[in-house]
Amino acid sequence: MQHSYLDKYSNLNSAIHKADPRLKILIALFFVLSILLTSSGNLLEFALYALIIASLVIASRVPPLFILKRSLIIIPFVVLISLFLLFDRTGLSAEYNGRVLFRGIVIKSYLAILVLILLSSTTPFPSLLQGLQRLKISKVFILLLSFMYRYIFILADEAMRLTRGKRSREFGAGKWRQIKSTAPLIGILFIRTYEKGERAYSAMCSRGFDGTIRTFNTINLRMAEMLVGFALITIIVLVKIFSNSHAL
Protein backbone atom coordinates (compact mmCIF):
# COMPACT_ATOMS: atom_id res chain seq x y z
CA MET A 1 0.00 0.00 0.00
CA GLN A 2 1.32 3.48 -0.75
CA HIS A 3 1.06 6.37 1.66
CA SER A 4 2.49 9.83 1.40
CA TYR A 5 5.61 10.44 3.39
CA LEU A 6 5.07 11.96 6.81
CA ASP A 7 8.02 14.20 6.07
CA LYS A 8 7.49 14.87 2.39
CA TYR A 9 9.90 17.44 0.88
CA SER A 10 12.27 16.95 3.81
CA ASN A 11 15.01 15.84 1.44
CA LEU A 12 15.25 19.07 -0.57
CA ASN A 13 18.54 20.85 -0.51
CA SER A 14 18.05 24.36 0.88
CA ALA A 15 20.11 26.03 3.60
CA ILE A 16 17.24 25.37 6.02
CA HIS A 17 17.22 21.67 5.13
CA LYS A 18 20.94 21.38 5.70
CA ALA A 19 20.93 23.11 9.08
CA ASP A 20 21.53 21.19 12.30
CA PRO A 21 18.22 19.65 13.47
CA ARG A 22 18.93 20.71 17.08
CA LEU A 23 19.10 24.33 16.02
CA LYS A 24 15.88 24.01 14.03
CA ILE A 25 14.05 22.36 16.90
CA LEU A 26 15.13 25.04 19.37
CA ILE A 27 14.26 27.92 17.05
CA ALA A 28 10.88 26.37 16.21
CA LEU A 29 10.18 25.98 19.92
CA PHE A 30 11.17 29.57 20.63
CA PHE A 31 9.08 30.79 17.70
CA VAL A 32 6.00 28.83 18.82
CA LEU A 33 6.37 30.19 22.34
CA SER A 34 6.60 33.76 21.07
CA ILE A 35 3.47 33.23 19.01
CA LEU A 36 1.57 31.78 21.95
CA LEU A 37 2.66 34.61 24.24
CA THR A 38 1.21 37.22 21.94
CA SER A 39 -1.74 39.17 23.23
CA SER A 40 -4.83 38.16 21.26
CA GLY A 41 -5.59 41.68 20.11
CA ASN A 42 -2.13 42.42 18.73
CA LEU A 43 -2.75 41.96 15.01
CA LEU A 44 0.44 43.76 14.04
CA GLU A 45 2.55 41.18 15.86
CA PHE A 46 0.66 38.30 14.23
CA ALA A 47 1.14 39.88 10.81
CA LEU A 48 4.89 40.26 11.37
CA TYR A 49 5.21 36.65 12.47
CA ALA A 50 3.30 35.54 9.40
CA LEU A 51 5.76 37.55 7.35
CA ILE A 52 8.72 35.78 8.96
CA ILE A 53 7.11 32.37 8.32
CA ALA A 54 6.41 33.30 4.70
CA SER A 55 10.02 34.30 4.11
CA LEU A 56 11.25 31.08 5.73
CA VAL A 57 8.93 29.03 3.51
CA ILE A 58 10.28 30.79 0.44
CA ALA A 59 13.86 30.22 1.59
CA SER A 60 13.15 26.54 2.22
CA ARG A 61 11.84 25.98 -1.36
CA VAL A 62 9.04 23.79 -0.02
CA PRO A 63 5.98 24.43 -2.25
CA PRO A 64 3.80 26.91 -0.28
CA LEU A 65 0.64 25.21 -1.49
CA PHE A 66 1.73 21.97 0.18
CA ILE A 67 2.23 23.76 3.49
CA LEU A 68 -1.12 25.54 3.19
CA LYS A 69 -2.94 22.29 2.44
CA ARG A 70 -1.35 20.50 5.33
CA SER A 71 -2.04 23.38 7.74
CA LEU A 72 -5.79 23.20 7.10
CA ILE A 73 -5.98 19.97 9.08
CA ILE A 74 -5.67 21.88 12.36
CA ILE A 75 -8.53 24.34 11.72
CA PRO A 76 -11.51 22.08 12.58
CA PHE A 77 -9.93 21.07 15.91
CA VAL A 78 -9.16 24.62 16.97
CA VAL A 79 -12.53 25.96 15.89
CA LEU A 80 -14.35 23.16 17.67
CA ILE A 81 -12.48 23.74 20.91
CA SER A 82 -12.71 27.53 20.95
CA LEU A 83 -16.17 27.87 19.42
CA PHE A 84 -17.87 28.49 22.76
CA LEU A 85 -15.78 31.64 23.23
CA LEU A 86 -17.86 33.28 20.51
CA PHE A 87 -20.92 33.06 22.75
CA ASP A 88 -19.14 34.50 25.76
CA ARG A 89 -20.67 37.99 26.02
CA THR A 90 -18.88 39.25 29.08
CA GLY A 91 -15.23 38.50 28.16
CA LEU A 92 -12.28 39.59 30.25
CA SER A 93 -12.90 43.23 29.45
CA ALA A 94 -14.44 45.33 26.69
CA GLU A 95 -11.28 44.86 24.60
CA TYR A 96 -10.87 41.15 25.29
CA ASN A 97 -14.34 39.94 24.56
CA GLY A 98 -15.08 36.45 23.29
CA ARG A 99 -14.72 37.38 19.65
CA VAL A 100 -11.20 38.75 20.12
CA LEU A 101 -10.14 35.70 22.14
CA PHE A 102 -11.57 33.32 19.54
CA ARG A 103 -9.77 35.14 16.75
CA GLY A 104 -6.55 35.14 18.80
CA ILE A 105 -6.67 31.42 19.47
CA VAL A 106 -7.35 30.52 15.86
CA ILE A 107 -4.55 32.75 14.57
CA LYS A 108 -2.09 31.52 17.21
CA SER A 109 -2.69 27.86 16.57
CA TYR A 110 -2.58 28.39 12.84
CA LEU A 111 0.76 30.21 12.95
CA ALA A 112 2.19 27.66 15.38
CA ILE A 113 1.17 24.77 13.14
CA LEU A 114 2.75 26.52 10.17
CA VAL A 115 6.04 26.68 12.07
CA LEU A 116 5.86 22.98 12.93
CA ILE A 117 4.95 21.97 9.38
CA LEU A 118 7.91 23.98 8.16
CA LEU A 119 10.13 22.17 10.66
CA SER A 120 8.89 18.71 9.65
CA SER A 121 9.08 19.38 5.94
CA THR A 122 12.65 20.66 6.15
CA THR A 123 13.96 17.90 8.44
CA PRO A 124 13.78 14.17 7.67
CA PHE A 125 12.11 12.38 10.57
CA PRO A 126 15.22 10.35 11.50
CA SER A 127 17.29 13.57 11.75
CA LEU A 128 14.58 15.12 13.86
CA LEU A 129 14.84 12.16 16.23
CA GLN A 130 18.59 12.46 16.30
CA GLY A 131 18.28 16.15 17.08
CA LEU A 132 15.90 15.43 19.96
CA GLN A 133 18.28 12.80 21.25
CA ARG A 134 21.21 15.19 21.20
CA LEU A 135 19.04 17.67 23.09
CA LYS A 136 18.90 15.05 25.85
CA ILE A 137 15.26 14.08 25.43
CA SER A 138 14.68 10.70 27.11
CA LYS A 139 15.75 7.81 24.86
CA VAL A 140 12.64 5.80 25.67
CA PHE A 141 10.52 8.62 24.32
CA ILE A 142 12.63 8.84 21.17
CA LEU A 143 12.41 5.09 20.66
CA LEU A 144 8.61 5.36 20.95
CA LEU A 145 8.52 8.08 18.30
CA SER A 146 10.79 6.07 16.05
CA PHE A 147 8.56 2.98 16.28
CA MET A 148 5.56 5.17 15.60
CA TYR A 149 7.20 6.50 12.46
CA ARG A 150 8.12 2.98 11.34
CA TYR A 151 4.83 1.23 12.08
CA ILE A 152 2.05 3.79 11.72
CA PHE A 153 1.51 3.06 8.03
CA ILE A 154 1.79 -0.68 8.53
CA LEU A 155 -1.02 -0.43 11.07
CA ALA A 156 -3.02 1.82 8.76
CA ASP A 157 -2.63 -0.82 6.04
CA GLU A 158 -3.65 -3.54 8.45
CA ALA A 159 -6.75 -1.59 9.48
CA MET A 160 -7.61 -1.01 5.84
CA ARG A 161 -7.23 -4.71 5.00
CA LEU A 162 -9.45 -5.66 7.92
CA THR A 163 -12.10 -3.18 6.83
CA ARG A 164 -11.94 -4.49 3.28
CA GLY A 165 -12.33 -8.04 4.49
CA LYS A 166 -15.35 -6.99 6.51
CA ARG A 167 -16.96 -5.03 3.67
CA SER A 168 -16.51 -7.91 1.24
CA ARG A 169 -18.57 -10.16 3.46
CA GLU A 170 -21.16 -7.98 5.13
CA PHE A 171 -23.51 -7.75 2.13
CA GLY A 172 -27.12 -7.80 3.12
CA ALA A 173 -26.47 -7.19 6.81
CA GLY A 174 -28.44 -4.41 8.45
CA LYS A 175 -26.81 -1.16 9.51
CA TRP A 176 -26.89 -2.09 13.19
CA ARG A 177 -25.19 -5.43 12.53
CA GLN A 178 -22.54 -3.69 10.46
CA ILE A 179 -21.80 -1.28 13.26
CA LYS A 180 -21.70 -4.10 15.77
CA SER A 181 -19.16 -6.05 13.74
CA THR A 182 -16.79 -3.08 13.83
CA ALA A 183 -16.06 -3.55 17.51
CA PRO A 184 -14.31 -6.95 17.18
CA LEU A 185 -12.36 -5.44 14.29
CA ILE A 186 -10.85 -2.90 16.63
CA GLY A 187 -10.06 -5.67 19.09
CA ILE A 188 -8.32 -7.70 16.42
CA LEU A 189 -6.31 -4.68 15.33
CA PHE A 190 -5.18 -4.22 18.91
CA ILE A 191 -4.12 -7.85 19.24
CA ARG A 192 -2.20 -7.74 15.96
CA THR A 193 -0.45 -4.57 17.05
CA TYR A 194 0.47 -6.17 20.33
CA GLU A 195 1.82 -9.29 18.62
CA LYS A 196 3.77 -7.22 16.13
CA GLY A 197 5.35 -5.42 19.05
CA GLU A 198 6.39 -8.72 20.61
CA ARG A 199 7.91 -10.00 17.38
CA ALA A 200 9.79 -6.76 16.73
CA TYR A 201 11.13 -6.97 20.27
CA SER A 202 12.30 -10.56 19.63
CA ALA A 203 14.04 -9.33 16.47
CA MET A 204 15.76 -6.63 18.53
CA CYS A 205 16.89 -9.15 21.15
CA SER A 206 18.15 -11.47 18.42
CA ARG A 207 20.50 -8.75 17.30
CA GLY A 208 21.93 -8.15 20.74
CA PHE A 209 19.55 -5.54 22.20
CA ASP A 210 20.08 -5.35 25.95
CA GLY A 211 18.00 -2.32 26.91
CA THR A 212 20.57 0.30 25.96
CA ILE A 213 19.82 2.26 22.83
CA ARG A 214 22.95 2.94 20.86
CA THR A 215 23.10 5.37 17.99
CA PHE A 216 25.85 7.47 16.67
CA ASN A 217 26.21 11.03 15.91
CA THR A 218 26.10 12.32 12.37
CA ILE A 219 25.15 15.90 13.02
CA ASN A 220 27.45 18.83 13.52
CA LEU A 221 26.62 22.41 14.33
CA ARG A 222 28.39 24.86 12.05
CA MET A 223 29.29 28.39 13.15
CA ALA A 224 27.48 30.04 10.22
CA GLU A 225 24.24 28.20 11.07
CA MET A 226 24.59 29.28 14.66
CA LEU A 227 24.82 32.93 13.59
CA VAL A 228 21.81 32.67 11.28
CA GLY A 229 19.86 30.98 14.04
CA PHE A 230 20.83 33.69 16.48
CA ALA A 231 19.80 36.34 13.96
CA LEU A 232 16.41 34.67 13.54
CA ILE A 233 15.80 34.62 17.28
CA THR A 234 16.84 38.28 17.48
CA ILE A 235 14.35 39.16 14.74
CA ILE A 236 11.57 37.38 16.63
CA VAL A 237 12.46 39.25 19.82
CA LEU A 238 12.61 42.56 17.97
CA VAL A 239 9.19 41.89 16.42
CA LYS A 240 7.80 41.30 19.87
CA ILE A 241 9.28 44.50 21.32
CA PHE A 242 8.34 46.61 18.30
CA SER A 243 4.78 45.44 17.97
CA ASN A 244 4.12 45.78 21.69
CA SER A 245 5.24 49.41 21.71
CA HIS A 246 3.22 50.17 18.56
CA ALA A 247 0.14 48.17 19.38
CA LEU A 248 -2.77 48.94 17.11
Partner: protein
Protein backbone atom coordinates in the same frame (compact mmCIF):
# COMPACT_ATOMS: atom_id res chain seq x y z
CA UNK B 1 36.56 -32.61 6.08
CA UNK B 2 36.81 -32.36 9.82
CA UNK B 3 33.33 -32.47 11.31
CA UNK B 4 32.92 -29.91 14.00
CA UNK B 5 29.51 -29.66 15.68
CA UNK B 6 28.17 -26.13 15.54
CA UNK B 7 24.59 -26.57 16.73
CA UNK B 8 23.65 -29.43 19.07
CA UNK B 9 20.10 -29.89 20.27
CA UNK B 10 19.32 -32.62 22.80
CA UNK B 11 15.85 -33.79 23.86
CA UNK B 12 14.30 -30.40 23.29
CA UNK B 13 10.60 -30.05 24.06
CA UNK B 14 8.52 -26.92 24.15
CA UNK B 15 4.88 -26.08 24.79
CA UNK B 16 3.30 -22.68 24.20
CA UNK B 17 1.43 -21.09 27.11
CA UNK B 18 -1.91 -22.20 25.60
CA UNK B 19 -0.81 -25.84 25.91
CA UNK B 20 0.09 -26.51 22.26
CA UNK B 21 3.01 -28.91 22.15
CA UNK B 22 5.18 -27.29 19.49
CA UNK B 23 8.34 -29.40 19.88
CA UNK B 24 8.60 -32.97 21.18
CA UNK B 25 11.92 -34.43 22.13
CA UNK B 26 13.96 -32.96 19.29
CA UNK B 27 17.63 -33.95 18.94
CA UNK B 28 19.93 -32.94 16.12
CA UNK B 29 23.51 -31.99 15.35
CA UNK B 30 24.57 -29.56 12.65
CA UNK B 31 28.22 -29.22 11.71
CA UNK B 32 30.17 -26.06 11.03
CA UNK B 33 29.69 -24.85 7.47
CA UNK B 34 26.73 -27.16 6.81
CA UNK B 35 23.63 -25.90 5.02
CA UNK B 36 20.61 -27.64 6.46
CA UNK B 37 16.92 -27.21 5.71
CA UNK B 38 14.16 -27.78 8.23
CA UNK B 39 11.15 -28.80 6.19
CA UNK B 40 7.62 -29.31 7.38
CA UNK B 41 4.02 -28.24 6.81
CA UNK B 42 2.45 -25.15 8.41
CA UNK B 43 2.41 -25.33 12.18
CA UNK B 44 4.90 -28.21 12.32
CA UNK B 45 7.25 -26.38 14.69
CA UNK B 46 9.89 -25.12 12.24
CA UNK B 47 9.81 -21.51 13.39
CA UNK B 48 9.58 -22.52 17.05
CA UNK B 49 12.74 -24.58 16.63
CA UNK B 50 14.57 -21.64 15.04
CA UNK B 51 13.57 -19.39 17.94
CA UNK B 52 15.32 -21.84 20.26
CA UNK B 53 18.63 -21.57 18.43
CA UNK B 54 19.35 -18.12 19.85
CA UNK B 55 17.50 -18.43 23.11
CA UNK B 56 14.45 -16.27 22.29
CA UNK B 57 12.42 -19.29 23.43
CA UNK B 58 13.80 -21.65 26.04
CA UNK B 59 12.27 -25.10 26.21
CA UNK B 60 13.02 -28.24 28.19
CA UNK B 61 16.25 -29.86 27.07
CA UNK B 62 19.57 -28.55 25.90
CA UNK B 63 20.72 -26.37 23.02
CA UNK B 64 24.47 -25.95 22.50
CA UNK B 65 25.91 -23.37 20.14
CA UNK B 66 29.60 -23.74 19.24
CA UNK B 67 30.01 -26.08 22.19
CA UNK B 68 28.33 -23.86 24.80
CA UNK B 69 24.96 -24.65 26.32
CA UNK B 70 22.64 -21.63 26.10
CA UNK B 71 21.90 -20.12 29.50
CA UNK B 72 20.88 -16.73 30.78
CA UNK B 73 24.48 -15.57 31.25
CA UNK B 74 25.70 -16.25 27.71
CA UNK B 75 22.60 -15.15 25.77
CA UNK B 76 24.37 -12.11 24.36
CA UNK B 77 27.34 -14.17 23.20
CA UNK B 78 25.07 -16.77 21.62
CA UNK B 79 23.00 -14.17 19.80
CA UNK B 80 26.18 -12.73 18.35
CA UNK B 81 26.92 -16.11 16.75
CA UNK B 82 23.39 -16.90 15.58
CA UNK B 83 21.88 -14.42 13.14
CA UNK B 84 18.13 -15.03 13.14
CA UNK B 85 16.08 -13.64 10.26
CA UNK B 86 12.33 -13.56 10.84
CA UNK B 87 9.87 -14.49 8.14
CA UNK B 88 8.06 -11.16 8.16
CA UNK B 89 10.42 -8.34 7.17
CA UNK B 90 8.23 -5.77 8.92
CA UNK B 91 9.14 -7.51 12.18
CA UNK B 92 12.82 -7.67 11.32
CA UNK B 93 13.05 -4.05 10.19
CA UNK B 94 11.98 -1.79 13.04
CA UNK B 95 14.08 1.33 12.48
CA UNK B 96 13.25 4.51 10.57
CA UNK B 97 15.98 3.98 7.95
CA UNK B 98 17.73 1.01 6.34
CA UNK B 99 21.02 2.23 7.75
CA UNK B 100 19.72 2.23 11.34
CA UNK B 101 18.43 -1.30 10.95
CA UNK B 102 21.57 -2.78 9.43
CA UNK B 103 23.70 -0.89 11.96
CA UNK B 104 21.63 -2.10 14.93
CA UNK B 105 23.55 -5.36 15.49
CA UNK B 106 27.06 -3.92 15.10
CA UNK B 107 26.13 -0.94 17.32
CA UNK B 108 25.04 -3.35 20.05
CA UNK B 109 28.56 -4.80 19.94
CA UNK B 110 29.98 -1.34 20.67
CA UNK B 111 32.04 -1.21 17.49
CA UNK B 112 33.54 2.10 16.42
CA UNK B 113 31.47 4.41 14.20
CA UNK B 114 33.90 3.88 11.32
CA UNK B 115 33.68 0.10 11.64
CA UNK B 116 29.87 0.20 11.82
CA UNK B 117 29.68 2.24 8.62
CA UNK B 118 31.96 -0.19 6.81
CA UNK B 119 29.95 -3.19 8.02
CA UNK B 120 26.66 -1.64 6.89
CA UNK B 121 28.11 -0.83 3.49
CA UNK B 122 29.49 -4.33 3.03
CA UNK B 123 26.32 -6.06 4.18
CA UNK B 124 24.15 -4.02 1.78
CA UNK B 125 26.65 -4.73 -0.98
CA UNK B 126 26.41 -8.44 -0.26
CA UNK B 127 22.61 -8.54 -0.61
CA UNK B 128 22.82 -6.46 -3.77
CA UNK B 129 21.39 -3.22 -2.41
CA UNK B 130 24.35 -0.84 -2.25
CA UNK B 131 23.49 2.79 -1.51
CA UNK B 132 20.18 1.97 0.21
CA UNK B 133 21.35 3.38 3.56
CA UNK B 134 19.05 6.39 3.73
CA UNK B 135 15.92 4.73 2.35
CA UNK B 136 13.04 4.23 4.72
CA UNK B 137 12.02 0.58 5.10
CA UNK B 138 8.37 1.43 4.54
CA UNK B 139 9.04 2.46 0.96
CA UNK B 140 10.95 -0.66 -0.09
CA UNK B 141 9.40 -3.44 -2.14
CA UNK B 142 8.76 -6.75 -0.38
CA UNK B 143 11.72 -8.42 -2.10
CA UNK B 144 14.00 -5.55 -1.10
CA UNK B 145 12.77 -5.78 2.49
CA UNK B 146 13.58 -9.50 2.54
CA UNK B 147 17.11 -8.77 1.37
CA UNK B 148 17.64 -5.90 3.81
CA UNK B 149 16.47 -8.30 6.57
CA UNK B 150 19.34 -10.62 5.70
CA UNK B 151 21.75 -7.67 5.62
CA UNK B 152 20.72 -6.79 9.18
CA UNK B 153 22.33 -10.00 10.43
CA UNK B 154 25.22 -10.24 7.93
CA UNK B 155 26.41 -6.88 9.28
CA UNK B 156 27.50 -8.41 12.58
CA UNK B 157 29.03 -11.44 10.93
CA UNK B 158 27.52 -14.33 12.91
CA UNK B 159 28.87 -17.86 12.44
CA UNK B 160 25.35 -19.27 12.02
CA UNK B 161 22.48 -17.94 9.94
CA UNK B 162 18.99 -19.12 10.85
CA UNK B 163 16.38 -18.05 8.30
CA UNK B 164 12.62 -18.47 8.56
CA UNK B 165 11.02 -18.81 5.11
CA UNK B 166 13.52 -16.60 3.28
CA UNK B 167 11.72 -16.92 -0.07
CA UNK B 168 8.07 -16.67 1.03
CA UNK B 169 6.02 -14.09 -0.91
CA UNK B 170 8.88 -13.15 -3.25
CA UNK B 171 8.63 -12.95 -7.01
CA UNK B 172 10.74 -15.35 -9.13
CA UNK B 173 13.54 -12.87 -9.72
CA UNK B 174 13.91 -11.94 -6.06
CA UNK B 175 13.62 -15.60 -5.10
CA UNK B 176 16.46 -16.52 -7.45
CA UNK B 177 18.56 -13.67 -6.05
CA UNK B 178 17.98 -14.89 -2.50
CA UNK B 179 18.86 -18.47 -3.44
CA UNK B 180 22.10 -17.38 -5.10
CA UNK B 181 22.92 -15.23 -2.09
CA UNK B 182 22.37 -18.12 0.33
CA UNK B 183 24.37 -20.52 -1.85
CA UNK B 184 27.29 -18.12 -1.89
CA UNK B 185 27.52 -17.50 1.86
CA UNK B 186 30.32 -19.40 3.60
CA UNK B 187 28.44 -19.88 6.88
CA UNK B 188 26.53 -22.49 8.76
CA UNK B 189 22.99 -22.00 7.49
CA UNK B 190 19.70 -23.35 8.83
CA UNK B 191 16.62 -22.62 6.72
CA UNK B 192 13.08 -23.32 7.87
CA UNK B 193 10.87 -23.52 4.80
CA UNK B 194 8.40 -25.44 2.71
CA UNK B 195 9.88 -24.15 -0.53
CA UNK B 196 11.31 -27.56 -1.46
CA UNK B 197 12.95 -26.36 -4.65
CA UNK B 198 14.93 -23.87 -2.60
CA UNK B 199 16.03 -26.77 -0.40
CA UNK B 200 17.14 -28.85 -3.41
CA UNK B 201 19.14 -25.89 -4.64
CA UNK B 202 20.82 -24.72 -1.44
CA UNK B 203 20.87 -27.41 1.24
CA UNK B 204 22.63 -30.78 0.83
CA UNK B 205 21.03 -31.97 4.05
CA UNK B 206 17.49 -31.73 5.29
CA UNK B 207 15.27 -32.55 8.25
CA UNK B 208 11.59 -33.23 7.95
CA UNK B 209 9.57 -32.28 10.97
CA UNK B 210 5.88 -32.68 11.56
CA UNK B 211 3.75 -32.13 14.67
CA UNK B 212 6.84 -31.12 16.60
CA UNK B 213 8.82 -34.28 15.90
CA UNK B 214 11.72 -35.06 13.61
CA UNK B 215 10.39 -37.55 11.04
CA UNK B 216 13.47 -37.82 8.85
CA UNK B 217 17.04 -36.55 8.81
CA UNK B 218 19.41 -37.12 5.92
CA UNK B 219 20.54 -36.24 2.43
CA UNK B 220 18.16 -33.87 0.63
CA UNK B 221 18.32 -35.81 -2.64
CA UNK B 222 17.18 -38.96 -0.84
CA UNK B 223 14.45 -37.48 1.34
CA UNK B 224 12.92 -35.12 -1.19
CA UNK B 225 12.72 -37.84 -3.86
CA UNK B 226 10.73 -40.15 -1.60
CA UNK B 227 7.08 -39.40 -2.41
CA UNK B 228 5.76 -41.72 0.28
CA UNK B 229 7.76 -40.02 3.06
CA UNK B 230 6.78 -36.58 1.81
CA UNK B 231 3.08 -37.30 1.48
CA UNK B 232 2.84 -38.93 4.88
CA UNK B 233 4.15 -35.63 6.28
CA UNK B 234 1.72 -33.39 4.38
CA UNK B 235 4.34 -32.41 1.81
CA UNK B 236 4.76 -33.28 -1.86
CA UNK B 237 7.57 -33.84 -4.34
CA UNK B 238 9.39 -30.65 -5.28
CA UNK B 239 7.83 -29.22 -8.45
CA UNK B 240 11.00 -29.62 -10.45
CA UNK B 241 11.19 -33.32 -9.58
CA UNK B 242 7.50 -34.11 -10.04
CA UNK B 243 7.68 -32.64 -13.54
CA UNK B 244 10.71 -34.75 -14.30
CA UNK B 245 8.80 -37.78 -13.06
CA UNK B 246 5.92 -37.02 -15.41
CA UNK B 247 8.26 -36.78 -18.38
CA UNK B 248 9.84 -40.10 -17.41
CA UNK B 249 6.43 -41.75 -17.10
CA UNK B 250 5.54 -40.64 -20.61
Amino acid sequence: MHYEPCIEVRNLSFSYPDGTEALRNISLVIGRGEKVAIVGPNGSGKSTLLLHLNGILRGKGEVRILGKAINKANLKEVRREVGLVFQEPDDQLFSPTVFDDVAFGPLNQDLSAEEVRTRVKEALQEVGLPGYENRSSHHLSYGEKKRVSIATVLSYNPEILALDEPTSNTDPKNRRRLINLLKGLAKTIVIATHDLDLVLDVCPRCLIINQGEIRANGKTEELLTNPHLLESNDLELPLSLSRLQKIKDQ
